[in-house]
């Protein structure tokens, strides 16, 4: 069972959308409403990913394939928070299909992201994680991320307010 981690490209959009939605429906069920999660459409998300991959902007996109099938993706780029400068990068998303949670695919993808940003101008990498998302927080802490003390309420995803906390890891 080989694992491949490579940059995402046009043609990956449907498989990424499928991972994206399945991962959210399982990982976020205690944080987002059932109505919202079950309303997510692979077709709509595929269109949005196609658009993203065509116009990536500052974002970078990695996918992870297990036995030839895309089972995870990561999005990273320059930090978006206004209090941070250009030396800070941000892991914007890291989603793994639930069928691949037990094979440490998240660790493999996170290692690749950290290696890639370390080769750029960045001195640290930040991320926002849902407060209480224990498996994700455990993964980030294993990689040396530390809670910065910042938190925010994000209303943009599901209608439900989501309490997120910021983590940071030094790259030097």
């Amino acid at each position: 069972m080989d694992i491949i981690i490579r940059s995402a490209r046009i043609g990956d959009e449907e498989a990424i959308a499928n991972v994206h939605i399945t991962a959210w429906q399982v990982a976020y069920k205690q944080f987002m409403s059932h109505e919202y999660l079950s309303s997510l459409s692979v077709a709509e998300r595929t269109d949005s990913w196609k658009n993203t991959l065509r116009n990536p902007g500052n974002g970078k996109y990695l996918i992870a394939k297990v036995s030839g099938v895309i089972r995870g993706f990561a999005v990273y780029g320059p930090a978006r928070d206004e209090d941070l400068d250009e030396t800070v990068s941000e892991l914007v998303a890291l989603n793994i299909h639930p069928d691949s949670w037990r094979i440490k695919l998240g660790s493999s993808l996170l290692s690749a992201v950290i290696e890639n940003v370390s080769q750029e101008q960045y001195k640290s990498i930040n991320l926002w994680v849902i407060n209480g998302n224990t498996p994700a927080i455990k993964l980030y802490e294993n990689f040396g991320f530390k809670h910065t003390g910042h938190s925010k309420i994000d209303n943009s995803h599901s209608g439900n307010p989501i309490h997120e906390i910021r983590y940071s890891k030094s790259l030097r």
């Binding site: 069972m1 080989d2 694992i3 491949i4 981690i5 490579r6 940059s7 030839g68 493999s108 690749a112 890639n116 080769q119």
Partner: protein, 174 residues
């Protein structure tokens, strides 16, 4: 765009970094390793490995070649190289070497098989050729184990300017 990372049961294939230079020099500079190949220089002098590694990112970006450091997942130590060179028109040449301390464990077969799969399924390469010195049948066994077919025996000029007998293998997508 960065090179991919390929993870097999025991191995991690990823791009070399300049800091690998001394280890490459030590492993590939071992005459027992270089004499099994046509191309590895001997003696392997200071700076040669770094010079070689410094060409990789541009060659990857231009789709000319793809060199992968082979590392053990356990311990992360560098054990060898597996590469695609002369990439053009959906064809490429496969090459590899493994450091002597790591011979006889099937690492080369595991790495080459994974890279050939990547080339076929992710890079759209449908014909891969490889050659080995006739005097080094172990390399031919790797080619056979990963499904390559023997095409012919021929001769080529080696690093010393001598005629060397070589065997040519290939694998094509069906």
């Amino acid at each position: 765009m960065n090179q991919p990372i390929i993870k097999t049961e025991r191995l991690l294939l990823k791009s070399f970094v300049l800091a690998d230079g001394p280890e490459v020099q030590k492993l590939a500079g071992n005459q027992n390793v270089s004499r099994t190949t046509l191309n590895i220089p001997y003696p392997y002098e200071d700076g040669m490995a770094e010079q070689w590694i410094s060409t990789h990112s541009e060659n990857w970006a231009n789709k000319k070649s793809a060199a992968f450091a082979i590392r053990l997942i356990s311990g992360h130590e560098l054990i060898g190289d597996v590469s695609l060179i002369e990439i053009h028109d959906k064809q490429a040449e496969l090459g590899y070497w493994i450091g002597e301390p790591y011979w006889g464990k099937g690492y080369c077969t595991e790495a080459a098989k994974a890279l050939v799969q990547y080339a076929r399924h992710e890079m759209g390469i449908d014909k891969i050729v490889a050659e080995h010195l006739s005097a080094n049948p172990a390399s031919g066994r790797v080619m056979e184990k990963i499904g390559m077919n023997h095409v012919c025996s021929t001769r080529k000029i080696d690093r010393y300017g001598n005629q060397a007998a070589i065997e040519i293998y290939e694998i094509t997508s069906t």
